[in-house]
Symmetry: C2
Subunit: 258 residues, 2 copies
């Protein structure tokens, strides 16, 4: 059996709530094993865009990352959020080190091809280079990844943090027994949004397809679940969806993908 | 004799000029030895502050880093500038990795004590931890440092990039023969600002004191020179002040501190 690696993805909502973020980082600090954090961006970038008088471009309900929005994403995700998380983890005694996919050439992506919609500077991951992660983990440094990748041609790209977490987990599952934990504001995937205490303990891909069709599983949850099942089918040992309680308390409610 | 390490500090003026920056990074990429880059911030942060309607606080001609300006510095230096430089270096075939002083706990600082002026969130360096630099350099990764440090109590701090370059150079001079190169827009320290082709080939601390007194050496150059002499007196082998030409061409004009 390989050594265990904990990969925790912290959602954008938590990153933007100072108290919630502190709670998550304190819990993450308590994990006494090799670990890696991936964080989303979220509302700060939108607020910053608004302050700068930039209106996010939307096409068919999807946000477009034009050059201005990309700069804002880089400043917000790789700058403010990443460095504040790293500094807070350092305070908690975790030797954290922040990375974008350009750093150490760790995550390569290609600009999403234009079909019906031109998403702009959005990256689809093509390769995860584990060398820099392994080198850092070997010296007990904890990588902290933001949702920015690059194409090795000088272009930074905005990339979904859930996908980054899944792809990095898959790549590192060749070396570690990986536990991938999607940490968000709910205790797990809910049977009913109006009843936040009842979570699905386990969830299969088939149940997910059904749940999406009949509307039990909320649209916002779908990409997270697809990334989670992708990880599970490609070498990751365990995929959990839950809130901060389940990060350190094994008895707390959570949803385990199966 | 130890192995040689090239530390290049790129000034804020160059960082903010796309063409000049590309030229510097291409020259830096050609240095065929262990190397490390430190970059200043500069005008982008000021422009961003203006766009956000934040007026930089000045006291006796010195800029004060209040909480808003610190966030802007983090976004601009550790975010946009650092990641764009890293992505461009990756394009040039350099396996760069961006760091603030919080990352890997590499540069510790203390908030500047309030005497006559409260500078706000400005950090005076107290310690450089070389472990993360050595670990990265050992795996042929090139550290790229921005002008942000931390106090290990969760607080990020704005810190002079010239001082960061000097202090990191001093700390790494225990392991390497360090050449510290301050790369800016002029060919070196000028005898006369109106004649940019005549540089002082060498410069001693005594000459500097005299030059400052009689106004030959410009005030803006003074902190860079003091940092340079500090490095020279504390283990760094060579301190050069020049422009991009001298980075790769040993015959190009430059000022060598003595």
């Amino acid at each position: 059996m390989s050594k265990k690696l904990h990969i925790v993805k912290v959602g954008g909502h938590l990153v933007n709530d100072e108290t919630a973020l502190q709670e998550v980082l304190a819990a993450f600090a308590k994990i006494d094993a090799p670990k890696l954090l991936v964080h989303g961006g979220g509302r700060h970038a939108t607020a910053l865009a608004k302050q700068l008088g930039i209106t996010p471009q939307m096409v068919e309900g999807r946000r477009i990352t034009d050059a201005d929005m990309l700069d804002i994403a880089i400043m917000s995700y790789a700058g403010l959020s990443n460095k504040k998380i790293v500094a807070q983890l350092q305070e908690c005694g975790v030797n954290a080190l922040g990375l974008s996919g350009a750093d150490g050439n760790s995550i390569l992506a290609t600009k999403r091809p234009v079909k019906d919609i031109d998403y702009g500077f959005v990256g689809d991951i093509t390769k995860v280079n584990t060398a820099v992660f392994l080198s850092l983990l070997n010296t007990k440094i904890v990588p902290v990844l933001c949702a920015i990748t690059h194409n090795k041609k000088g272009q930074l790209l905005n990339t979904n943090a859930d996908t980054i977490a899944a792809q990095v987990a898959i790549a590192l599952s060749k070396t570690f027994d990986v536990r991938l934990f999607y940490c968000f504001e709910h205790a797990g995937v809910l049977h009913d949004l109006s009843n936040p205490n009842e979570v699905m303990e386990t969830l299969t891909e088939e149940q997910t397809e059904k749940g999406v069709k009949n509307g039990i599983i909320h649209q916002g949850m779908v990409p997270k679940l697809y990334n989670g099942f992708d990880a599970l089918k490609n070498g990751v040992n365990e995929v959990i969806i839950s809130n901060v309680n389940a990060l350190t308390n094994t008895k707390a409610p959570k949803t385990t993908l199966q």
